[in-house]
């Protein structure tokens, strides 16, 4: 934050502000992809900027999304809130859909939702069950499609859970839950029927995955 700042930090510092949209847009970019609430400190660490500065930008964004333009009385336009809002819950910031549109969003979310798991969800669940702990990237590779949204469905349904983080890649590793076992009527994962006998050479395939990922 002062003379002691390392050179790399300085370099990065000058860059963010020069980008179109500056630090404000940089913070937005983080918020929009974050899959859990992020704290002032996390954002400050990633951007290498003072926490106080980051906090004030976040508060400012929150107000802007709510429809305050910052132009004060000069503005002739009525404040127009965005369809999303920035909420600070227990110290973490997260973008939510705006409450007023809850009925619209509910229609959208429930559209096409059924009480049954889709074939894609079932297949993804099968891969996670037999390969846990496993990253989304590896499940994608096995199934040949992006599984991000399907994994989220399984998370929402409480059938899978984030177990740990791969120490090398930093990827989140998923596994199945107690609820999953209850649904199958099993006591533990080890009671899953063995499938290895039907899969010649699959064990060695696992090694390949690790080395190429």
């Amino acid at each position: 934050m002062d003379e002691a700042m390392p050179p790399s930090g300085v370099e990065r510092s000058s860059r963010i502000e020069d980008l179109p949209g500056g630090i404000r847009a940089a913070i937005e970019a983080i918020l929009v992809v974050a899959d859990r609430p992020v704290t002032d400190e996390q954002v400050a660490a990633v951007l290498d900027r003072p926490t106080a500065l980051v906090h004030s930008v976040l508060v400012d964004l929150q107000r802007e999304y709510d429809g305050y333009t910052g132009l004060g009385l000069q503005s002739t336009e009525p404040p127009a809130p965005r369809g999303f809002e920035l909420r600070n819950i227990a110290g973490g910031w997260r973008i939510f859909s705006r409450t007023q549109f809850a009925s619209v969003v509910a229609d959208f979310v429930l559209d096409g939702q059924s009480a049954r798991l889709s074939q894609a969800a079932l297949e993804t669940l099968a891969v996670i069950a037999y390969r846990q702990p496993v990253s989304r990237a590896r499940v994608s590779a096995i199934r040949g499609v992006n599984v991000d949204s399907v994994v989220r469905t399984l998370l929402q349904r409480g059938l899978v859970v984030e177990m740990e983080t791969d120490p090398e890649t930093g990827a989140v590793l998923y596994g199945t839950t107690t609820l999953f076992l209850e649904r199958l009527g099993l006591g533990s994962v080890t009671e899953l029927p063995r499938i290895a006998p039907h899969l010649p050479g699959l064990e060695s395939l696992g090694e390949y995955d690790e080395t190429t990922y």
């Binding site: 809850a102 009480a115 069950a129 096995i142 989220r152 199958l184 039907h198 699959l202």
Partner: protein, 300 residues
Amino acid sequence: MATIAPTAEKTVFEVRLTNFSGPFDLLLNLISRRELDITEIALAEVTDEFIAHIRRIQAAEGEWKLDEASEFLVVAATLLDLKAARLLPAGAVEDEEDIALLEARDLLFARLLQYRAFKEMARHLAERFEMEDARHPRNAPLEPQFSRLLPELLWKHSPEEFAALAAKILSPRQEKPAKVSIEHLHAPPVSVRDQAVVLQNLLLARGPLSFRQLTEDADSRLLLVVRFLALLDLFRDGAISFEQAAPLSELVVRWSAGELSRPADRLTGDVEGGGIPEDGARRSVPGRIQRNGLEVARYG
């Protein structure tokens, strides 16, 4: 990647050598370093460099893997052929060998051009991958107020059904065949040398025979053609003679060398099935190119 910068230091270049992803890659690189148009240059001009480079890769990597080495050698052999042709006196053209060489060159050009096109597309794919990796879709979990609205999950799978599903997804798409058939890679090779032996045995056992008789058991056009080639070779070597009573009358083939002489052993070069054009037009045959190339390579 499009323009390869001239390399400042030899050592840098030698490090990069090992990164060529095949003989075409190396060849393209050599051509672009000399700023030659791929469609106009005589490939012979880069032959020496190509050979020198694969020698250096060999020295740097110690041992070659056999299949890897052969891929480079096929290209090297073709290049040497072309260079040898250039060294010959200009008058000595227009025989069969020269035409085969020209065809070999055209084929090499064509394959090089094709490879260049795909290399260009690969560069494009790399750019797209990089661009897309720089963007991330919004992927937030469903807000709690909405996930509470989801209908209760119906689950009807038994553990066994679930395991069967997993086995299906986790297994390779197809059952791997127990025995790998390679018949689709090459039609059964028909060797000129072998057919010469067959002809020799026929002629020695049954005396003078007509061409029709010599080929009556040929069950494919390929075999027919190879028998004919073998006859020409045997005739060239003075092992047989032809007799024809009148124009367009039947050709009789007679064994004229001694029984112990085995001229067939001197013949080399297998002709592979796929190499004979269906239309019967005279074109170079891969086996032929390879034979010439390997012979030249031995002396080069």
